[in-house]
Symmetry: C2
Subunit: 296 residues, 2 copies
C-alpha cells in the first residue's frame, strides 16, 4: 500500500470499524512522523503501520513507531527475528506478512502475534512460490496457532466469506482501499484501476523480486527485457529509482510502476471508505445467508 | 485428468453422488470406446467425458460419445462453436472449460449449457492470464447466466464452501481424485503427490502452452531451457511425445511430465472415492456451520 495509505486512509478505515494501516515503505522518516502525528490528531481509534523490514532507514521508522505508541506493526519482506522482541518490549503487537507456511512457522517461532498470509493474486511484492490465496490459507492455518489474516484477491464481502471458510480469522484488503476517495494514490491511477480488465495485471520482475503490476508501457519494457533474457542488472537499471512514485503518486500511467492486485479487474467504482465498509458487510451477510446456509 | 480418470474413477464418483468424468485426452479412439463400454456395464448413473477440442482424432471421439449416449461432454482447449450444436442435436449437454470471462461469454454465446471456470492453481494446461480461482469466479459469475462450476485449488469441503461464496453453483475437483484408489495414475505418481510440499508445483512451458507441473528432473530441464531463452522449438523437442504418460501412467518420477494442481501440497493420504466424498461433505457442512453462521 505504498503511495496509497497515509494517515487519512488509515483513519477513515479505523473509524469505520476496520484496522487502518499506514504504509511506511514509501515514506522518508520525517514523512512517517508527520503521518503519525496527523493520525493521532485525527482520531483515537487503534491503527497499525506496515514496515518493510528491508527499509533503508529502518531504525528511524522503528523509533517513530515506538515514540508515537503505534499499537500494532505489520512487518513484511524480512526476518521476523530482527525486530519483533524490541516491539513487544514496548507493548506493540507484531503481525508478520508471509507468502508461505514455512515463513509463517518461522514467524510464529519468532514470537509474532498474528500472521498475514498473502496469495499470488496480491498486488506489489509477492512470494516466489506463487501459491494462491485459495491454496495458501488452509496450509498456513494447518501450521500455525496464532490468528491468521488472509490477503490477496479480496475485494468483496463474498471473498471475505471465502477466506473465512478457508480458515482465516480476518482479511487484509489492499487494492480496493487503494482506489478509495481517501487513498493518497493519484486520481489517474485510481481511474486506471477502475477501468482495468481481467488479465491486465501480471507478476513480473521475478529475477529481482516478484511484483504484480498493471500492464502499461513500463510493464511492456520490463517484460521485453525478460523475454530476451536480460540480466537482473539490466532490469534493475531500467527500473531505476522512484518508478512506483512516478506512477502511483504522480500519475504517470505510461512510465510509472503500477502496483496493484489481480482483483483490480473487479473494482468498478471509486467509493469512500464508509461506502466500501458498508458494502463489504452487506455482501458478506448476504453471502452467508443466501449461499451458505444449507448443508449438503 | 489425462492418465487418471478412466471408467473406474468416473463410475466410483458418480456412484457416490458426484458426476464422474472420463478424461479422453490421453486415450486412443479404441481406448475411449473400451472405457465407455466398461462404464456402461458398471453403472447406470449419469457421467461425462472431457474432450480437449484440439484432440487429433476428434471426429472419432465425437462419434463414440454419440454412440454411447454420453449425457454430458466437458469441452476444453478450443472453440466452443465447432462441436456444441452437433452434441446438442443429439441431446448431449455441453460444458465448456475456460480460464477467462471473455471465453466464458463466447462459450455462452455458442450455446453451451454450463461453464467450468478454472483458476491459475489448476493442474495441467492453464490459461495465459494467470487469474486465480478467487478472482476468476466472481468475474465469470458477473458475465454469464448459465450454471458456473469452479475449478482449480479445490481439495476440501472448506474450498467448496469458498467457491460457493464466490458465486459458483458447483465445483470440479481434479488433483484430489487423481490420488484416489480408483484413479488410473501410477502409484508412484500418487505417492509423489501425497509427499509433495507447498511451492512444489509451478506453471511453466508458457512459450508453448502454460502447464502446471510438479517439480522433478524434467521440470528442471524445461525451466533451464526457459531461463536461457531457448525457443519454443527447443522446448517442444525436449518435451517430445508421451512425457505425461511416462510420468503419470508409467511412474517415471524423474523424466515424466507430472501434471497436478497447486492443491497437491494439501493432499496427504490416498483414499477411496467413497472416503473422499464423505470427507468433503462433512467438511463442507462443518465449515458453513462453524465458520459462516454469524453475520457481521
Amino acid at each position: 500500500m505504498i503511495w496509497c495509505s497515509g494517515w487519512k486512509l488509515a483513519a477513515a478505515v479505523s473509524k469505520e470499524g476496520g484496522l487502518g494501516i499506514i504504509g511506511s515503505g514509501s515514506m522518508y522518516p520525517d514523512v512517517l512522523r508527520e503521518h503519525l502525528a496527523k493520525y493521532r490528531a485525527a482520531t483515537d481509534y487503534p491503527f497499525a503501520v506496515n514496515l518493510p523490514l528491508l527499509y533503508t532507514d529502518i531504525e528511524q521508522h522503528v523509533k517513530s513507531i515506538i515514540d508515537y505508541k503505534v499499537p500494532i506493526v505489520f512487518t513484511s519482506a524480512g526476518n521476523p527475528n530482527t525486530w519483533t522482541s524490541k516491539f513487544k518490549d514496548h507493548g506493540i503487537k507484531v503481525v508478520q506478512v508471509v507468502s508461505s507456511s514455512k515463513f509463517a512457522i518461522k514467524s510464529q517461532e519468532a514470537g509474532v502475534d498474528a500472521i498475514v498470509a498473502e496469495g499470488f493474486e496480491a498486488g506489489g511484492h509477492n512470494g516466489r512460490d506463487e501459491t494462491t490465496t485459495l491454496c495458501l490459507i488452509p496450509e498456513v492455518r494447518r501450521h500455525i496457532d496464532i490468528p491468521l489474516i488472509a490477503a490477496g484477491g479480496i475485494g468483496s464481502g463474498a471473498a471475505i466469506a471465502a477466506c473465512m471458510a478457508l480458515g482465516a480469522d480476518g482479511v487484509q484488503i489492499g487494492s480496493l482501499f487503494a482506489t478509495s476517495v481517501e487513498s493518497s494514490a493519484h486520481i489517474s491511477f485510481k481511474e486506471r484501476i477502475i477501468a482495468s480488465q481481467e488479465g491486465e495485471t501480471m507478476l513480473c520482475m521475478k529475477k529481482i523480486i516478484p511484483v504484480r503490476l498493471l500492464k502499461n508501457k513500463f510493464y511492456e519494457e520490463i517484460t521485453h527485457l525478460e523475454n530476451i533474457c536480460a540480466g537482473s542488472d539490466k532490469i534493475n537499471n531500467h527500473l531505476g529509482r522512484g518508478r512506483a512514485k512516478k506512477g502511483m503518486f504522480e500519475g504517470d500511467m505510461e512510465n510509472g510502476e503500477l502496483e496493484i492486485g489481480q482483483i483490480a479487474a473487479s473494482i468498478n467504482k471509486i467509493k469512500t471508505v464508509k461506502e466500501i465498509m458498508h458494502d463489504l458487510i452487506l455482501e458478506y451477510n448476504s453471502t452467508i445467508k443466501n449461499k451458505l446456509s444449507n448443508p449438503l
